[in-house]
Amino acid sequence: MNDILAKTGDVLRDWGPALLFYGMAGLVLATAAYAVLARKIDHSAFSLMACFAGVAGLYALLGSDFLAAAQVVVYVGGIMVLVVFGVLLTDRLPIEFRQISRETAVQGLAVAIPVAVAILGAVLGTAWPTRPEEAVADEGTTREIGVLLLTDYLFPFEFASVLLLVALVGAARLARGGRS
């Protein structure tokens, strides 16, 4: 009995991270592909939501707990609401704009395939620098991110908050479309 438990523990320790990674990566890529190819734009939007959640899972697997939470709050909670509003407010389109025509599919593949070949070639052909595993903090990166944002990156942080304010006020002004 103890042998079986020990063996199960070994298998989980050896394969668990890989299974989690491949599961998350599969979820992200499958939902992203459906978001790109779906005939209806509302299907696309909801598939994109699952994709964002999967990316949050990847962040969690990478030990970036704060970013995983931020991803869920900002993308799944915020940007997706905007996209769904956009879909609902403009959903009176003729059917031909809802799907990818053969012409644009050819154009898209003509751009996407060279991009994929170039990036994958660079990724797989480069010996990336790594750091020893001991240097990786186990308690997550939230504290370090907070310290960095309020010391080294204080100016970009404040600048970004002003930029976000300006962008949101501008968006509200634009969306009113000149009506007072």
Binding site: L48, L62, A112, I145
Partner: protein, 115 residues
Amino acid sequence: MSPALLAAGAPAWAQIGLGHYLVVSALLFTLGILAMVARRNAIGVLIGIELVLNAANVNLVAFGRFTDAGPKGPVFAIFVILLAAAEAAIMLALLLNIFERSGSVSVDDATELRG
């Protein structure tokens, strides 16, 4: 995920490293580019842009985890998320305006600014 979890007993493809995340990110980026070029619906184009930004973020976080960049990776990813939020809000406001004027959100119909 603690480093001790990466035991030596598993085969090479089960040892998840930087390269695995970079490949996922590259494929996500490609799908985003495909959506940006192939979709004629402006919301489809926006979806492609968001996919590309997410792919860039996965790269930043993966480099932060596996190289000396450390927490600088996630910090840059936070700025990218922030800019993506601003960009999505502006883009949808523009899109609603275009839709009110021309009754279409096809990027091929928005030609008023073409010289």
